[in-house]
């Protein structure tokens, strides 16, 4: 594995992380518009 390959892997990983951040923020904004609720990991049964 050359230094260039390592660099490509690193940039892909960084790109993946930034894309995930945008996706998550957009999902929250859309959820606010959909039903005023931010998606929760778990619902409180109480």
């Amino acid at each position: 594995m050359s230094a260039r390959d390592d660099k490509i892997r690193q940039v892909v990983a960084e790109l993946d992380a930034h894309v995930a951040e945008v996706e998550a923020s957009v999902a929250v904004l859309k959820a606010l518009l959909a039903d005023d609720e931010v998606p929760e990991e778990e619902e409180d049964p109480s």
């Binding site: 594995m1 050359s2 260039r4 390959d5 660099k7 490509i8 892997r9 940039v11 892909v12 960084e14 790109l15 993946d16 930034h18 894309v19 951040e21 945008v22 996706e23 923020s25 957009v26 929250v28 904004l29 859309k30 606010l32 518009l33 005023d36 609720e37 931010v38």
Partner: protein, 139 residues
């Protein structure tokens, strides 16, 4: 991506869906609504393995090509800054108790900042790959 898939198919003498059909199918594949058929998976592999022509062949290169294809497709389907601003404005206009206006604004700012990072990383990747289409997939 649709254009690249059609080119890869042409080069291999295969038939694929028309451009508008691919443009419709690709987001469905990205969202996981449907799985691409084998020939489309192989065409994706060909597109990105060709793009990584300087890499050694083998599973590492294939794995990297697939990962690159997936993340570039996701990046290409992200909304632009204008669309994020529109979502922010709509969320601010809609009364709700889930988030404060400041939190909504901060969320939109953060999304746009990451969007700029995405564009930068795509350009960096294109340079590393010697990609002629530096703007391909840029949000």
């Amino acid at each position: 991506m649709a254009r690249e898939l059609r080119k890869a198919a042409r080069d291999s003498g295969e038939d694929v869906a028309a451009h508008h059909g691919l443009v419709k199918m690709i987001p469905q594949w990205e969202r996981g609504d449907r799985a691409p058929r084998e020939r489309y998976r192989l065409l994706h592999l060909k597109v990105f393995t060709d793009a990584l022509g300087g890499l050694p062949h083998g599973m590492d290169a294939v794995d990297l090509a697939l990962r690159l294809a997936e993340v570039r497709s996701r990046a290409a389907s992200l909304p632009g800054p204008g669309q994020i601003r529109a979502l922010e404005a709509a969320a601010l206009a809609k009364p709700g108790e889930t988030m404060t206006r400041a939190e909504i604004r901060a969320l939109a700012e953060e999304a746009i900042a990451h969007l700029h990072e995405v564009a930068g990383k795509l350009a960096e990747l294109s340079a590393l790959l010697g990609d002629d289409e530096a703007n391909e997939g840029k949000p």
